[in-house]
């Protein structure tokens, strides 16, 4: 490894390679706990969908399929840019023009940050519309536009409860992801040796892809069950 001289190896590790694989393993273990964190809600979804099948069908008619698809595409473009950044920082040799590398990384990660903000804007606009229509679960819930089978039993509220909980928890992860990727964009575009932060970028990239994967499941579960 020609750039190993620029990477400081922490005390417990023999070499940079070992340090890197330990960092990646640590991130994957964290992501496994995150799968279970979201998992409780996914299990709850499975139970209520089994019990209130009709309510989920009716509820998803309120969602914009194309809007949700666009949100998915925005996240996937962000993932591509993060993957390219990760590739660029890993493959770059020590004699590469550091200024050029800094600018590229700052550009890709800055664009990803903006895409994340665009995703959240679309999501919160959707929340605004749903709340405006009286579809936020609670005492003010307006079920009058739904068929009697799901209106009189109030089962339709369960769909919206799960929708706001699951997409809300995902949105919280997006806020964290946007902060981390945005922070990396600033850090790397100012750093003398961006490659020093290669492991950090890989870890944050894994987090971003993970949040993306959660949305890949939320999209069919809430928008495409018609």
């Amino acid at each position: 490894m020609s750039h190993s001289t620029t990477i400081e190896v922490a005390l417990p590790f023999d070499d940079a390679q070992q340090q890197r694989s330990a960092a990646i393993l640590g991130m994957w273990i964290f992501l496994a706990t995150e799968i279970l964190f979201f998992g409780g809600l996914f299990v709850g979804y499975a139970v209520y969908r089994y019990e209130y099948f009709e309510a989920f069908r009716e509820g998803s008619h309120e969602m914009s399929v194309v809007g949700g698809g666009l949100m998915t595409a925005v996240l996937l473009i962000g993932s591509l840019l993060v993957a390219i950044s990760d590739h660029a920082i890993e493959e770059a040799s020590a004699d590469i023009d550091q200024r050029k590398l800094r600018r590229r990384l700052g550009g890709y990660l800055g664009a990803t940050t903006l895409l994340g903000v665009a995703f959240l804007s679309m999501e919160f606009y959707e929340y605004y519309e749903l709340i405006h229509k009286g579809l936020f679960p609670g005492p003010g819930f307006d079920a009058s536009s739904f068929p009697a089978s799901v209106r009189d039993t109030q089962t339709i509220q369960m769909y919206f409860t799960l929708f706001f909980c699951m997409t809300g928890l995902h949105a919280l992860h997006m806020v964290i992801g946007i902060s981390l990727v945005g922070g990396m964009a600033v850090l790397l575009s100012r750093s003398e040796h961006p490659q020093r932060y290669a492991n950090l970028l890989t870890g944050i990239g894994l987090y971003w892809h993970f949040v993306d994967v959660i949305w890949i499941f939320l999209y069919p579960l809430f928008y495409l069950v018609r």
Partner: protein, 108 residues
């Protein structure tokens, strides 16, 4: 330029993900009954596999990291399967108990 050649899988992967997204949107307009969700989740599963393999680099990471990734899914599988078994089997035992009561009451 071996550098740009190695970037290619990322772009191919992105293109595949976009095609799958278009398919899943298109399929939602075709009424397959209960199979709609099955198809949508199958496509989501394939997308997840592609993201994990290429973007998250599981194809060239250490085996122990792959184990951690699979471990999370395994435990999620336990939670889903055992909960589904619970809900599906509710009422089985109650029906038997009910029959017994009827038998008891039927006795003179």
């Amino acid at each position: 330029m071996s550098h740009s050649a190695e970037l290619k899988p990322l772009f191919y992967n992105f293109a595949a993900l976009m095609v799958l997204l278009a398919i899943t949107i298109g399929m939602s307009y075709v009424d397959l009954g209960a199979f709609n969700l099955f198809v949508a989740l199958l496509i989501a599963g394939i997308k997840t596999f592609l993201v994990a393999l290429i973007f998250m680099n599981l194809r060239s990471t250490s085996n122990v990291s792959r184990l951690a990734a699979v471990g999370g899914l395994l435990w999620l599988g336990f939670a889903l399967i055992l909960t589904a078994a619970d809900y599906h089997s509710r009422g089985w035992n109650e029906a038997q108990a009910h029959d017994l009561i009827e038998v008891e009451q039927a006795r003179p």
